[in-house]
């Protein structure tokens, strides 16, 4: 059963105002194209969950899509702060729910596992625990020591960008894995964007590489370069310059609006975005091949 569709259709059908969204990926495979499509379709009151909001959530917050953020690190990685999110928090305009990376990922792990909560060892840094009532403590029944627990996170929608998927949504990822698998299993609905839609036989040639099985996927969309300015291992490089540039763009409301007009609202889709980036940029982000040694599964 093919689940192939366009990204705009996938967002239209599966992302609703007020939904909790988890756009997965730790520095790698960040689903920018889907974020832009959500902005384009003017979704609002979203609860945006992500360990590292990165520029994409900064842009979505700027565009008025969000009512709340669930996160564990709000920085522009390697650059500084996310100016928009930071100022919205400082001015009290957006609700937040904050974790450490480990507790954020533990929430997803619990959600993906069908568990109501998951324990973590104590860290002795208790201020965040006091600031966020979702953190609780229970006693280890074996030693009587306390452990810290967080509740399952089950987003309405997980959005995951992958290197390759088949038309049924069976998806393979390599490079930094982040929390893609956990987000997909934790969510009620799953949207996959893929650099390549490949024949089922490619997927079946290496089943251990499949992190997300198609039967939990709702939509799969072929969207090359969907991760820019983030990257896709083996397909294109990270656009570090844009991470610096955004720091300038986001200094003023005007800069932000111009950016959104030019690069999001003013474009129909990711293909147009990629073309607009231009051949110089394409050349800069190009990556030379470095292939894995194959493994033998054997014909039984």
């Amino acid at each position: 059963m093919t689940k192939l569709t366009t990204l705009s259709k996938a967002i239209e059908v599966h992302v609703h105002d007020g939904d909790t969204i988890y756009a997965a990926g730790f520095t790698h495979l960040i689903p920018y194209a889907a974020g832009h499509e959500i902005i384009r379709q003017k979704r609002k009151d979203l609860i945006l969950a992500r360990a590292t909001p990165d520029l994409i959530y900064d842009q979505m917050v700027a565009a008025g899509c969000a009512q709340k953020l669930i996160f564990s690190y709000i920085g522009n990685p390697g650059v500084g702060s996310l100016r928009i999110i930071r100022s919205e928090i400082e001015s009290g305009h957006i609700e937040i729910e904050e974790y450490s990376h480990f507790s954020m990922i533990s929430r997803l792990q619990a959600g993906a596992s069908g568990l109501p909560f998951i324990p973590m060892n104590q860290t002795a840094a208790e201020d965040l625990e006091h600031a966020n009532p979702q953190y609780k403590r229970i006693k280890d029944p074996y030693t009587g020591q306390e452990v810290v627990v967080v509740p399952a996170l089950n987003p309405d929608v997980a959005i995951v960008h992958v290197q390759r998927a088949d038309q049924n949504g069976n998806s393979q990822i390599w490079g930094i894995l982040g929390e893609q698998k956990e987000a997909a299993f934790a969510a009620d609905r799953v949207i996959i964007t893929a650099e390549e839609i490949v024949d089922e036989d490619i997927i079946r040639s290496d089943p251990n590489r499949t992190l997300i099985p198609g039967f939990i996927v709702d939509a799969v969309c072929q969207v090359p370069y969907a991760a820019h300015p983030s990257y896709t291992q083996g397909y294109y490089d990270r656009d570090n310059a844009f991470y610096l540039e955004w720091d300038k763009i986001s200094e003023t409301k005007e800069g932000i609006n111009n950016y959104l007009d030019e690069w999001v609202y003013g474009l129909p889709d990711r293909q147009a975005y990629w073309q607009k980036l231009g051949t110089e940029m394409h050349k800069r982000l190009k990556v030379k091949d470095r292939f894995s040694a194959p493994v033998n599964y054997g014909a039984y």
């Binding site: 996160f71 928090i89 480990f102 973590m120 860290t123």
Partner: protein
């Protein structure tokens, strides 16, 4: 030989690492310090990145914690849940590098907020992986310039635990790691005393105790064994400048 304060801090941090250490490392100076140690006295240092990369062999200077150059040619890559459970919580990490806007008298770190949490004056990035690293790595090191605003007597928010209000208090919490072992600044080194309070244990060449005191937000005690650090050697600087950061992205004098 002339050197910048970034170079000075990096060289001194590198010297704290031991051969065979497993280090949980971020980009920037900690990454440079680890690679410098690998090129000098610690060839068997194993570098683990928060993003889930083990045994990276970057062919260029990584610019983000998830730089693809960390992945190509690494020995292993795992999920974030695995890196925090199997590696960090399990006790497989010897050394963690920490940073933050404020570090207090007992090595507690604030990377979350200046002012009140609910009504922040300045909102900072937050914990990321530092809360767990500070708790569970066997040893933690902090690299940061020495300025009064960075070293208040008490942090506004404890993002990650040093010794809390005393070494005994940290021990009473039962966390597995040994806590901060040293703070490397551009003036010298501070290390915890028997009570967990950070005291001055080394000064860099040409720096006075008074300079260190003036730039610390509490009454900085001086160790009776306080010594002067060896200046960066020509070989250390050559490796840093020519091999590790040839375009001077991190080690040019700035902050």
């Amino acid at each position: 030989m002339e050197y910048s304060s970034s170079e000075l801090m990096t060289v001194n941090a590198a010297r704290l690492l031991r051969d065979g250490d497993t280090v949980f490392v971020g980009v920037g100076l900690p990454n440079l310090a680890c690679n410098l140690a690998r090129h000098t006295h610690a060839p068997n240092l194993l570098m683990i990145y928060e993003a889930g990369v083990i045994g990276a062999r970057p062919e260029r200077l990584p610019l983000s914690i998830g730089d693809p150059t960390l992945v190509s040619g690494a020995t292993a890559v795992c999920s974030m849940y695995d890196i925090f459970t199997l590696y960090l919580q399990r006790g497989n990490v010897d050394v963690g590098f920490l940073g933050g806007a404020q570090i207090d008298q007992f090595g507690n770190i604030n990377a979350t907020v200046i002012g009140d949490y609910q009504h922040p004056k300045v909102r900072l990035p937050g914990s990321g992986g530092s809360m767990e690293m500070a708790a569970w790595a066997n040893r933690c090191y902090i690299i940061t310039p020495h300025q009064t605003r960075r070293f208040p007597k008490k942090v506004d928010f404890r993002t990650s635990a040093g010794f809390l209000a005393s070494r005994a208090e940290r021990v009473s919490k039962g966390v597995r790691g040994g806590g901060p072992q040293a703070v490397v600044t551009d003036l010298g080194l501070m290390e915890p005393d028997e009570n967990g309070e950070l005291i001055l244990t080394s000064l860099h060449p040409g720096i006075s105790v008074d300079q260190a005191r003036k730039n610390t937000g509490w009454e900085l005690k001086v160790s009776p064994r306080c010594n002067v650090t060896e200046p960066p050697t020509a070989s250390e600087l050559q490796i840093l400048r020519d091999e590790l950061d040839p375009t001077g992205i991190y080690i040019k004098d700035g902050k």
